[in-house]
Symmetry: C2
Subunit: 345 residues, 2 copies
DNA sequence: CTGAAAGCGCTAACAA
DNA sequence: TTGTTAGCGCTTTCAG
């Protein structure tokens, strides 16, 4: 059998695809190669070096798929982003992306890979079971409960290594890490009222439970202070938001002098729309956002907002997940939000 | 054999973990179950329905690890983000995150999963070979060449299914999709000069080749017009940038009336710093950014910038990658940048 | 249309 | 210290 193609590239002709090929070349058994390459077990130093040399020379890497199948663990963490209440919302949403970034940093530091899956639950009943049951991941973090609270609860009953970013409800069964949204809402309303607002509006969708809690908190203090408050719905996708806000501006102008935006993104857009309408912030209307994304400090005037500590959140998610993967049934982690006072309220 | 633990949960006691378990219950062979579940082959409708029913009842999912090992394809695309020139830069960089978001949308639409890996090449010589050789992915997209141009070239010689987001060099061997950075730089400089600038500064690191090309383009038109231009280095990590820019402001104030920021993020920060120093944009200094991130339209005044079409880029990456996975040796794709004229120049 | 059997590439006892 | 063996859970010929 002649090899008809000349080795026109330095590293062509590499028939070393498996541990067995390598074993043959090295004159040892596959088992020995496996041990040598995994560094673990007792292998004669000379043998190991020889094997490593050959591996390097041929650019050989053990097939992870096979290894992981055999060892029944994958070394990858699934990250699911359910896009439930607003299919238009892209995964590119800034808040989620930032959290994802920190998550990737954190997971990488712990030696795990990250498998990202964007899901649209309305098209796909059992997205979560599918992900978990795929055998591709050792654990899962769900970013955002969206409108899938119930489904997540169900799954949590039978699957330990799952942690969810989102809102904490009294008595819920799944492990969540997230900001105390209700408290955040309170802080926002208090700030608005302290700044002189006498009638409030909440700008954003109140369906997602995180947002509902923010509104709920704000409403609680508004009610207590006898300040009226109303919810003005918007979507999350950048396209629609501008015009929706513009449509709300009329009522804001006449009936509200304090606006609590569900997110900084909404707040920033709102600020823009107000400027085009000649509404002066904070003189005519006070405004507070939520998240403290980078943009909050770069609007003009800079946005007063409720800060979520995203880095701490990511760290918490990973920490709890690893403990759950080790069998511990961890409690949820609720992080305190903080008022960041800038110039819009 | 009695089952000692009462089924206190609806879905407890599920010993159906493998296709073989299921086969036993259904009274057929493993092969048949496999065929039934994959939907592909010819299976008696009744048999299939029975198998599907049992699978549903027990919440059974075929193990993807095993399936993929056997079929020698994984259905996952690796996405590597090399953090070379600036280790401090987090994966959370807005531009990359946005691109990643679109990529996830695009890949999901084509039925692929996405495995994200953040790499620090300086700690890890052969990050790319490791990723590719892992057997975990069918193809790879590298987001950003960072300072790894040569390494990517080497790998490209022996591995077809790879596409890179970045800058295109004459005669390069790896398939890249990206914006024509040089042209973008030209557009920026032309705009600045047309707006009346007589001395230019480029604000940003010129090491990464994308940025070098932006600077190169700007320099080309500046030289042609006899306008001086200088590079003022900054890093990319949010922490450092503010103070670095502040430090540069002195020279900008005295020696430049047109600044071309390497990215919108830098431009936005610059805008802020200038305001604190009382420098009025665009009256005292003209400013143009690069990327057209959402923030560009939300600064005050809104940023004139060079737009990269990120969505088209993501689509291009996926399209080319899939063709390469099918064996085609595709050309690179260079997208045209566009000037978005707002109010800073 | 279905069963039997042979692996995908690797790891982990168990012997030697 | 190393080789041998038996699979991980699934897919896919090849017979029947």
């Amino acid at each position: 059998m002649t090899d008809p193609k000349p080795t026109d590239r330095a590293d062509a002709a590499k028939p070393v695809r498996t541990i067995t090929d390598l074993a043959r070349i090295a004159g040892v058994s596959a088992g020995t190669v496996s041990r040598a390459l995994s560094g673990n077990s007792l292998v004669n130093t000379k043998t190991r070096e020889k094997i490593e040399a050959i591996a390097r020379e041929h650019g050989f890497r053990p097939n992870q798929m096979a290894s992981r199948l055999r060892r029944q663990k994958t070394g990858v963490i699934g990250v699911a982003i359910p896009l439930g209440h607003d299919v238009q919302q892209q995964i590119s949403d800034t808040f989620f992306m930032t959290l994802l970034g920190f998550l990737a940093d954190e997971l990488t530091a712990k030696g795990y890979d990250l498998m990202l899956r964007r899901v649209v639950p309305s098209n796909d009943e059992d997205w979560l079971d599918r992900f978990i049951g795929s055998g591709m991941i050792d654990g899962v973090v769900v970013i955002g409960q969206s409108d899938q609270f119930e489904r997540i609860e169900e799954v949590a009953d039978g699957y330990l290594p799952m942690v969810v970013w989102g809102n904490h409800q009294e008595g819920q069964r799944h492990c969540v890490v997230g900001t105390d949204n209700r408290l955040g809402g309170k802080l926002a309303a208090e700030r608005l009222i302290a700044a002189g607002a006498t009638s409030l509006a909440f700008l954003g969708d109140t369906d997602p439970i995180e947002f509902a809690a923010r509104f709920g908190g704000a409403k609680e203090v508004a009610d207590k202070r006898n300040v009226p408050i109303r919810a003005l719905p918007t979507h999350l996708s950048p396209g629609q938001v501008s015009s929706e806000i513009a449509a709300h501006l009329e009522v804001i102008q006449h009936e509200a002098d304090g606006v609590f935006a569900a997110t900084d993104t909404i707040a920033a857009t709102c600020l823009q729309e107000m400027r085009t309408k000649g509404i002066v912030v904070p003189n005519h209307v006070k405004l507070v956002g939520f998240d403290d994304l980078p943009i909050a400090s770069q609007t003009m005037p800079p946005l007063t907002t409720i800060k979520q500590d995203i880095a701490a959140g990511a760290k918490g998610l990973v920490d709890l997940l690893l403990r759950r993967m080790a069998g511990e049934d961890t409690e949820s982690l609720v992080l305190p939000p903080h008022l960041v006072a800038r110039q819009t309220a």
